[in-house]
């Protein structure tokens, strides 16, 4: 029977009633005791240890965390740490839980990380809708300040840190690291051209590290238990654990923290109880709405970030797994995702701004019996002007990765359901006498 391996979720499970409170976190989770060890190690040794641990970003791209920190240009100050808690990827709900249930773990991780990268100013950008999380996190920050874990000369180390909680105003693109930085600066959340990368010129054009909440929450444990301990978990270059948010047509939806290397089947059928009501699975989304879909035949593949890319042509992304049973209309799912992207495109660059709503309009017709047999090919054809080659890992003509995400579900339709869909479009066409153009605005609610 598949088992969870709780690391960042351990304490919140042990004390579900007060894990977010300072006294509880101090008494039962030894919160902030890893600071001493971190300060003793010194910044370089921490970066080194995180690199050794193999920790990879848990926000979506899976980039080596220690490696990212090591990119900061030498001797350029001030530097900033920005912690990404925007969590806008549909069906992802892990950072939400980490913020509400263990904010001190996050604050401790933030302090260690800021110390490691020598930043005296850190920001946590939290999705605006997380009201309870914001309250608890703010309380945690206040408590940390009150007890000398934030502010000047933390724990006598000589290290100063100001930590600011910033609440977003509700858009997905503020989760993209450069969109987040624009938003933090007080502008519209619009991604930026890279280079320059945030490590060189990020917030206020100063060297900046952007990391996900789960990534940062892991840091205290690597300091406490050592890089080898973390590297010893997981599989291949996917070390350690990850939280997977399992949702959709399963018996027990929820967040599961497991060691990487476990199979999808163990996670979905073992931990999440399999498809609900005894139905069969039609397909599942393995890593958030932006990732191409998989079929039941892929269930025995390992949860391995590199394997997902090279063998399954998808990604583990934000760790959100959504399961769809046999009654699901894949076209309808695709349209709903298209509508999300059309609504969330920031509008800065042409292919995504215009392409995302065009995709939505075509899919809407297809869903509503107004499709033409050539429509799937039409989508793939103009979609390849957003994602040249249409194959993961996605290339892009756009500024940021939201562009290619608009096509991942269409690519999936073509990969797995082409015959079914084309047959349906042919039937629709035969039934119809003329093409009636139906559209809804991407902004309206479905």
């Amino acid at each position: 029977m598949a088992q969870e391996t709780p690391v960042v979720t351990r304490f919140m499970r042990e004390r579900p009633d007060d894990s977010w409170q300072f006294e509880s976190a101090r008494a039962y989770n030894a919160a902030y005791t890893r600071l001493e060890r971190a300060f003793a190690m010194g910044p370089e040794a921490i970066v080194e240890a995180v690199q050794q641990s193999g920790l990879r970003g848990k926000g979506g791209a899976g980039f080596g965390t220690g490696q990212k920190w090591s990119f900061l240009p030498k001797g350029v100050f001030p530097r900033y740490l920005c912690i990404n808690g925007d969590e806008g990827e549909p069906a992802t709900f892990k950072d939400h839980m980490l913020t509400e249930r263990d904010p001190h773990q996050l604050v401790e991780g933030a302090i260690i990380t800021a110390y490691a990268i020598q930043a005296n100013h850190a920001f946590i950008y939290l999705r605006g809708e997380f009201a309870l999380g914001a309250d608890r996190l703010q309380q945690a920050i206040d408590d940390a300040y009150a007890h000398g874990f934030l502010g000047k000369d933390i724990g006598g180390s000589g290290f100063d840190l100001e930590l600011v909680l910033h609440r977003g105003a509700g858009c997905y693109i503020a989760g993209d690291e450069t969109g987040l930085l624009s938003s933090l600066e007080g502008e519209r959340a619009m991604p930026r051209i890279k280079p320059p990368f945030p490590a060189a010129q990020g917030l206020y054009a100063a060297p900046t590290v952007v990391n996900n909440i789960e990534t940062i929450s892991t840091i205290p444990w690597i300091i406490a238990n050592g890089a080898e301990w973390y590297a010893g978990m997981g599989v291949n270059r996917s070390t350690g654990t990850r939280i997977f948010s399992v949702s959709g047509h399963v018996e027990r939806p929820g967040n599961y923290e497991v060691e990487l290397g476990m199979t999808f089947r163990e996670l979905i059928e073992g931990l999440a109880g399999g498809v609900r009501d005894g139905k069969r699975m039609k397909f599942f989304i393995p890593g958030g709405a932006s990732s191409p879909w998989l079929l039941p035949e892929h269930l025995d593949s390992p949860l391995d970030m590199d394997y997902a890319g090279s063998e399954l042509r998808t990604m583990l992304g934000s760790g959100a797994i959504t399961v769809f049973d046999e009654t699901t209309d894949p076209l309808l799912v695709s349209w709903r995702l298209a509508k999300f992207y059309a609504h969330e495109s920031c509008g800065k660059c042409t292919p995504c701004r215009e392409g995302s709503s065009w995709i939505e309009k075509v899919l809407y017709r297809m869903v509503n019996g107004q499709g033409r047999p050539e429509d799937l090919d039409l989508l793939l054809s103009f979609g390849s002007n957003i994602v040249p080659g249409l194959n993961a890992p996605f290339a892009q003509t756009t500024i940021c990765a939201l562009g290619p995400s608009t096509m991942s579900h269409v690519v999936s339709l073509d990969r797995w359901f082409r015959d079914e869909i084309v047959a349906r479009l042919e039937r629709d066409t035969a039934r119809r006498t003329s093409l009636e153009i139906v559209t809804v605005s991407a902004g309206a609610d479905a």
């Binding site: 502008e187 930026r192 292919p351 995302s356």
Partner: protein, 889 residues
């Protein structure tokens, strides 16, 4: 010049981001589509390709703005880099191999165009841009044949006015961000921005705040589609019916280069031309739309003579005879000093020269002044070391004294702002906050009339001493900066004599690194002064005495002694000492600050000869009206504030019988027995080059061939001249239009033959002035009074504005008193309420409005307004004017 980083726009962030450039040799070898070229490392790929003959399509990139990478039209393939790269934000490095036509690139271009057309309304037949539209052109050249989009397009109400002159059609907008970036990055008026997101992204203004930027018209010019249109041009013409010449705007002394366009003998548009050392493609809106006045119904185009019952039409011989007779009679009966000539700053250099010759050489009067007591003494302007506009970019510091360039020299303001953005510290010395204050590194405030006080401290600091005043802040700013200190020097207020400003000039002129840009406003005032339309001076920046022999040799003589300036001339006229007064393209009733004096002078003088475009100049006092052609109707040259002589071109045929002012001078001279022997503009130019020392070498051939004009004196600037027409020919309006499309090619042997010994030096040493100067008296402050500052604003009751319907529609006309909010509250009135204003001279009623830029104790009077104003209140002999302000109750 190679770089290590390229400044970029990370729009919408305002932070200073740069694109890093990989290290390598300064000259990079780059292969573009198989062709190897040597280019400076760090230049943008899109620009390098264009300079070497490969046009990479683009929408958002504009050469004069930072790259932003939004439209994705410029994607290319760079070997060794993953995916396609935007060439507008990719600096070249050594060994780069680029493909701009590969199948991948073509597919991407096709794709971007198809995406752009998804929501584009394609209403080309009713769109101003149709026929010169980058979206049309690039679709034809790089795009798909037809669209596969069958759904409904995005809809917006169209068009909506976003300012007095700009209309926005959001359906046509392709969201390139050129307009929004221009507004925030170049003009500093971030009044338009994007709203919405995804395909609903739209350009918008803030609620209740129109896009009223002095520079809004530039956004219309650079918009790559017909989303932004200008009401003055809208539906007036189709691009293929337009005919165009290159000329320079003469609405102020910056002299911005423009392409003046007409259809059916009517001017319909002025586009900014990219003259690198001057306007870099931009225009202000006053300059852009003031061509309308050329077609004003109020113009006089047939000669007039005073008959019983008023002015009546006359023939040219009748009118010229009458004018010549009046001049002769005044001279013969009362001596040359009984003649005065006012004006000339609105004409061409040729006009100014011919009139200087007529007045000083033929009539021998030195009572000549092109300024109407609204500038600075000519000896000071001509005698100070001059800076070029480009010096702003390389300056150690820019000091702005006594002027608000945003109001009087708008595009100079853009250049100052750009220099400040690039790190040049700007010091603004003023009585109140002004256009340059937001980006000034240091703002020094003084009481009206006391500009020399902060300037004395500044001069100390620039000379390396500390003063214990605010000016010390400058020391740290300029500590490690080389280059000249550029002083933009103007008249701080029309409500005070020029004494304090002249004193300030003398203090600064003593500092070796200081160079001046005189902030005189009127279009060709510098040409007029340079060509001798000022007392005590002869053409070519020489005094009467210094130039007597050289100029007199051609003219047959020059006045014996220095004459009167404008104030003196009007005072003499009022006293009956001046019998014939010539008004050369000016109307002292609006141009001269002291209106009562003008009225007395006009009433007393025997004969008023109006040489100009409006018969009602001088109110009802004109006796002879000689109608002149104006800008746009006449070839010639003009001189801007840095001393750059540029070609002015005729675009439309003048209506009626109007004649060039220089030709009128020749006709009058002939009637007075002197044959100028000048038939063509080029002949006047050649004579100027021979006679006027500062113009030595600047003959007609040089003027025709120098692409960007010639900066005087030629000896100092000969190596800056670019010869022959622009290598790229005329551009399309949305991209920087290369200057010099009108320049004449240089014949193969001409250059060497013309100047075998290099450019000729002035035959007479040019006039220099460094002071000394009298300090202005300080007048104790009266705590119950407000001290007046009077200065021009860009729009006002100026003739060119009032006669241009598009500008007149929104230009403020009426006099108003601007005060601090505290003072307004102390007076006890609301904004717009009329108050009783009393000076030592008069009591008038004026509306009062609070303005955050005005400090307590100061009252600002816009000078160019109709109705009661400085003309009534200010005693020009008083050092300052204090006003008592009371409610009417």
């Amino acid at each position: 010049m190679s770089t290590d980083a390229v400044r970029m726009s990370q729009w919408p962030s305002e932070q200073p981001y740069v694109i890093p450039v990989a290290p390598g040799p300064d000259v990079a070898t780059v292969t573009i589509d198989g062709k190897e070229v040597q280019v400076p490392r760090g230049e943008l790929l899109i620009k390098v390709a264009q300079d070497h003959g490969t046009y990479i399509p683009r929408f958002c990139w504009h050469e004069r703005m930072k790259p932003v990478g939004m439209c994705r039209m410029c994607l290319v393939e760079v070997e060794g880099m993953r995916g396609l790269q935007i060439s507008c934000a990719t600096p070249v490095t050594d060994g780069m191999v680029v493909h701009t036509q590969s199948p991948g690139v073509k597919a991407a271009q096709d794709g971007v165009l198809e995406f752009l057309l998804v929501n584009h309304p394609l209403d080309c037949p009713v769109c101003d841009r149709g026929g010169e539209c980058p979206l049309q052109d690039q679709t034809l050249a790089f795009g798909p044949g037809e669209s596969r989009f069958v759904e409904e397009k995005r809809h917006f109400e169209k068009p909506i006015p976003i300012s007095e002159t700009v209309l926005l059609d959001r359906e046509r907008c392709i969201q390139c961000g050129r307009c929004t970036r221009f507004a925030s990055e170049i003009a500093g008026d971030a009044l338009i921005h994007f709203g919405g997101r995804g395909s609903g992204t739209e350009v918008m203004t803030y609620p209740d705040e129109p896009f009223s930027s002095y520079f809004a018209g530039n956004t219309v010019q650079i918009c790559p589609v017909g989303a932004l249109t200008a009401s003055p041009y809208r539906f007036r013409a189709r691009p293929w019916d337009l005919d165009s010449v290159e000329t320079s705007c003469q609405q102020c002394a910056v002299g911005c280069r423009g392409a003046l366009e007409s259809t059916s003998n009517r001017l319909v548009r002025l586009l900014g031309v990219d003259l690198d050392p001057v306007n870099q493609g931009w225009l202000c809106d006053r300059g852009r739309y003031a061509y309308e006045w050329v077609h004003s119904d109020a113009r006089v185009v047939t000669p007039r003579l005073a008959r019983e019952g008023g002015l009546a039409e006359a023939t040219w011989p009748q009118a010229l005879d009458a004018a010549a007779e009046a001049l002769r009679r005044a001279r013969d009966e009362h001596g040359p000093d009984a003649i005065g000539v006012l004006g000339g700053a609105r004409g061409t250099n040729e006009d100014a020269y011919a009139w200087a010759r007529l007045a000083k050489g033929v009539l021998r009067t030195d009572n000549v002044d092109a300024q109407l007591d609204d500038g600075l003494p000519a000896e000071v302007v001509l005698g100070l070391p001059r800076a070029s506009i480009d010096d702003l970019d390389r300056a150690a510091a820019i000091v702005i004294v006594g002027s608000d360039p945003k109001e009087t020299l708008p595009v100079l303001y853009l250049r100052i702002r750009a220099a400040a953005e690039a790190g040049v510290p700007v010091v603004d010395v003023s009585t109140h906050d002004n256009g340059c204050t937001p980006f000034a590194a240091c703002s020094l405030r003084h009481r009206p009339g006391e500009v020399a006080t902060p300037v004395a401290a500044l001069a100390e600091v620039l000379g390396g001493r500390t003063t214990g005043s605010d000016a010390d802040r400058l020391a740290a700013l300029v500590a490690d900066r080389d280059g000249p200190v550029v002083v933009v020097l103007g008249r701080p207020s029309l409500a005070e004599p020029a004494t304090a400003a002249v004193h300030a000039a003398a203090l600064l002129a003593a500092v070796p690194a200081v160079r001046f840009l005189p902030a005189l406003h009127r279009g060709n005032v510098h040409g007029a002064l340079d060509l001798g339309l000022a007392p005590g001076l002869l053409p070519g920046r020489v005094t009467l005495d210094a130039g007597r022999a050289h100029v007199g040799a051609v003219w047959g003589g020059v006045p014996a002694a220095r004459g009167l300036d404008a104030r003196g001339i009007l005072a003499a006229a009022a006293d009956g000492r001046i019998r014939t007064l010539v008004l050369l393209g000016c109307d002292p009733l609006t141009d001269f600050p002291d209106r009562p004096l003008v009225e007395r002078a006009l009433a007393a003088v025997g004969t008023v000869v109006v040489v100009g475009a409006f018969a009602d100049a001088a109110g009802g006092h004109a006796d002879v009206v000689l109608p002149t052609t104006v800008w746009g109707e006449q070839d010639g040259s003009g001189t801007n504030l840095e001393g750059r002589v540029q070609r002015l071109a005729r675009k439309v045929t003048p209506g009626g019988a109007a004649m060039e002012a220089w030709r009128i001078a020749g006709e009058l001279a002939a009637r007075l027995g002197v044959d100028f022997d000048l038939e063509l503009t080029a002949e006047v130019q050649d004579e100027i080059a021979r006679v006027a020392p500062a113009f030595a070498g600047v003959d007609a051939a040089v003027l025709r061939r120098a692409r960007d004009g010639v900066v005087l004196p030629l000896v100092d600037h000969a190596d800056e001249i670019a010869w022959g027409p622009a290598p790229l020919g005329a551009g399309v309006s949305w991209e920087p239009i290369p200057a010099g499309a009108d320049a004449e090619p240089v014949p193969a042997d001409a250059e060497a033959a013309a100047t075998p010994t290099g450019p000729p030096a002035p035959p007479v040493a040019l006039w220099e002035w460094r002071g000394p100067a009298e300090p202005a008296p300080t007048v104790p402050v009266d705590a119950y009074a407000l001290r007046v500052v009077a200065a021009r604003t860009l729009y006002g009751a100026d003739r060119a504005v009032l006669e241009s319907p598009s500008l007149a529609a929104f230009a403020p006309r009426d006099a108003v008193l601007l005060v601090s909010r505290t003072d307004r509250d102390r007076i006890g009135v609301a904004d717009g309420d009329r108050v009783r204003v009393t000076s030592a001279r008069a009591t008038v009623e004026l509306p009062v409005v609070a303005d955050a830029r005005i400090p307590q104790g100061v009252a600002f009077l816009p000078a160019n307004r109709a109705g009661a104003g400085i003309g009534d209140l200010v005693d020009p002999d008083a050092a300052v004017t204090d006003l008592r302000v009371e409610t009417l109750r």
